[in-house]
């Protein structure tokens, strides 16, 4: 664990008395290594270490009898501060029904998360409508319908021959007519480098003016988490992030990368395959998981 590695760095300090900047550098190399092992983006890790170094080379740390603990405390505080302390919530103010769009790479967990959100929002007193805008993936509409049935939530769908933009637009009307308070729009998985598919998202957004656009990303995403999030944010505009498969053992460094580079707040964590498995996130817990 990182704690042990930092203790190892400082174990000879007793004989040296006060620490020097090189000792701190060595400790920060261990921290950087831990971040990279956790899939934190290379540049994000480098910038993070620079920020931490300023605080970690203060007299308070250099003269401390427990420098490992001091460095760890500073790293942890910086991590929590960067991740952001706002608990996850959906903005449904301003229009009825409030459209919430889910976007992201293929297989990230959008369709499952759509159903999870519907269940969570219903428990909070909202009336969610699931909207099937993935007309590409085989049986995608059937998947959302099956999940909707499991939680007793209606699914607005038009099969696979209408355009996702039209389905989204008509779902707003449908939601309003049937008294829904939130429309959860499930979209097809797509690469952020696929211009035509990214343009489809821009068109859907223009058609329904969503109150939330949530990027759904897998916790085990590697270095490209930054490019993915940046492209989705720049082209479509993101209001939040859902990190899925946090029930696994991926360290989840992608969360730090995405947050540090785009400023998009982490809203929810996918904690399993079951529809109940959606949790609000705690920055301090995520921080210690990333550090390992």
């Amino acid at each position: 664990a990182l704690t042990d590695r930092l203790q190892g760095v400082f174990k000879d300090m007793r004989s040296k008395g006060r620490l020097a900047e090189e000792d701190i550098d060595e400790a920060l190399r261990e921290v950087r290594l831990a971040l990279l092992e956790a899939d934190v983006n290379f540049k994000v890790a480098r910038d993070f270490i620079r920020r931490v170094k300023e605080r970690a080379t203060s007299l308070e740390v250099l003269e401390s009898l427990t420098p490992a603990q001091q460095v760890l405390r500073i790293v942890d505080e910086e991590l929590v501060a960067t991740l952001g302390g706002e608990p996850g919530r959906i903005d449904w103010t301003g229009k009825t029904p409030a459209p919430v769009m889910l976007v992201g790479l293929n297989g990230a967990g959008k369709t499952t998360s759509a159903a999870k959100l519907a269940l969570t929002l219903r428990k909070l007193g909202q009336r969610p409508l699931l909207v099937a805008c993935d007309t590409y993936r085989p049986a995608a509409v059937a998947q959302l319908e099956t999940l909707g049935r499991q939680i007793g939530a209606e699914v607005y769908e038009e099969g696979t021959h209408a355009s996702p933009v039209d389905i989204a637009r008509r779902s707003v009307e449908y939601g309003r007519e049937h008294g829904y308070s939130i429309n959860i729009i499930d979209t097809a998985g797509r690469l952020q480098i696929d211009e035509r598919m990214m343009d489809e998202l821009v068109q859907i957004k223009a058609a329904i003016q969503p109150t939330e656009v949530l990027l759904v990303a897998n916790a085990m995403t590697g270095q490209e988490a930054v490019s993915v999030a940046q492209q989705f944010h720049e082209q479509v505009g993101l209001t939040g992030l859902i990190l899925t498969q946090m029930d696994g053992d991926a360290r989840g460094g992608a969360a730090l990368s995405i947050r540090a580079v785009t400023g998009v707040p982490l809203k929810f964590l996918g904690m399993g395959e079951k529809i109940e498995a959606l949790q609000a996130y705690y920055p301090d817990r995520l921080a210690s998981r990333i550090l390992g």
Binding site: G107, A139, M220
Partner: protein, 277 residues
């Protein structure tokens, strides 16, 4: 990288950055860069291009070791496809079925994911698209029972390769890994050396956790080969180098898109070259 005129400190720094950003991981990157620096000390590369060529050679050596084809003996070969959630198993199975059919085999698909919503429907749609029959039971049925049916159907219909789709499962879920072992045992009981191939599908977008996945699945069911899906994404899939170093698992195929023809046998040279593109 190509802009560097000499192998100075900046060259080595940029190389490290490049490899880490390709998901090779800090340790594997350090190993490869150290080896390259040792070579440079001994025989002096004249240019960054030469160093890059040597690195590409080393990468190809690491990845190119395993047998390229699949071991699919007659009369009936069984391929078990496994992996964590959402990596591309079902889609890769459809692609593999068409690939095998085009090379003269008679595949049959088994809808072994009886858990996830519309998983059976998804494989059935793919089966129709590639004109390959699918054996299935209802949702919630026992995957081992469906596999058992699949073997019976294959023998009855003269199919010579059975591809078994399984539900995505995190390697950390002991009960789900046990379920997978049970499926494998059912297959072994019916056909002595089966499954002849157990392919682990990895999502190229995955970071260092892919190594953990490869280790866990290998330990549980003995993986014989990898399928690297979603290589059309902006990710480079560099984690396969640590998998090659630690487990020597051959990469059999790559998935390069969502269409059925976006699939090809793995080419180490092409893969290593793409890292430097």
């Amino acid at each position: 990288f190509q802009a560097r005129r000499e192998l100075d400190a900046a060259f080595w720094d940029e190389l490290e950055e490049r490899l880490i950003q390709a998901d090779l991981g800090a340790h594997t990157t350090a190993d490869l860069v150290d080896t390259l620096r040792e070579t440079h000390d001994k025989r002096r590369f004249d240019s960054p291009e030469q160093a890059e060529a040597a690195l590409r050679q080393e990468m190809m050596r690491l990845l190119g070791g395993g047998t390229v084809g699949l071991n699919l003996p007659l009369p009936l070969a069984v391929i078990l496809v496994v992996g964590v959630n959402g990596v591309g198993k079902t889609t890769s199975i459809a692609k593999l079925a068409k690939f095998l059919a085009q090379s003269g085999r008679k595949p049959l698909l088994v809808a072994g994911d009886t858990f996830r919503a519309a998983a059976i429907d998804q494989l059935k749609v793919w089966g129709e698209r590639v004109a390959v029959p699918v054996v299935a039971q209802g949702p919630g049925s026992d995957p081992s029972a469906v596999v058992f049916d699949g073997i019976k159907a294959a023998r009855a219909r003269g199919a010579d390769v059975l591809i078994v789709d399984t539900a995505g499962r995190l390697h950390t879920k002991i009960n789900l890994m046990e379920e997978l072992k049970k499926v494998q045992r059912i297959v072994q009981r019916q056909i002595p050396d089966a499954p002849h191939e157990t392919l682990l599908v990895l999502d190229a977008v995955t970071g260092q956790n892919a190594l953990v996945q490869a280790k866990s699945f290998t330990q549980a069911v003995g993986v014989t080969g990898l399928v690297l899906a979603k290589l059309d994404s902006s990710s480079k899939g560099g984690v396969v180098f640590s998998i090659a170093q630690e487990l020597s698992l051959p990469i059999k195929f790559v998935g390069t898109g969502e269409r059925v023809d976006d699939f090809a046998p793995f080419d180490a040279g092409e893969f290593a070259g793409a890292l430097f593109a």
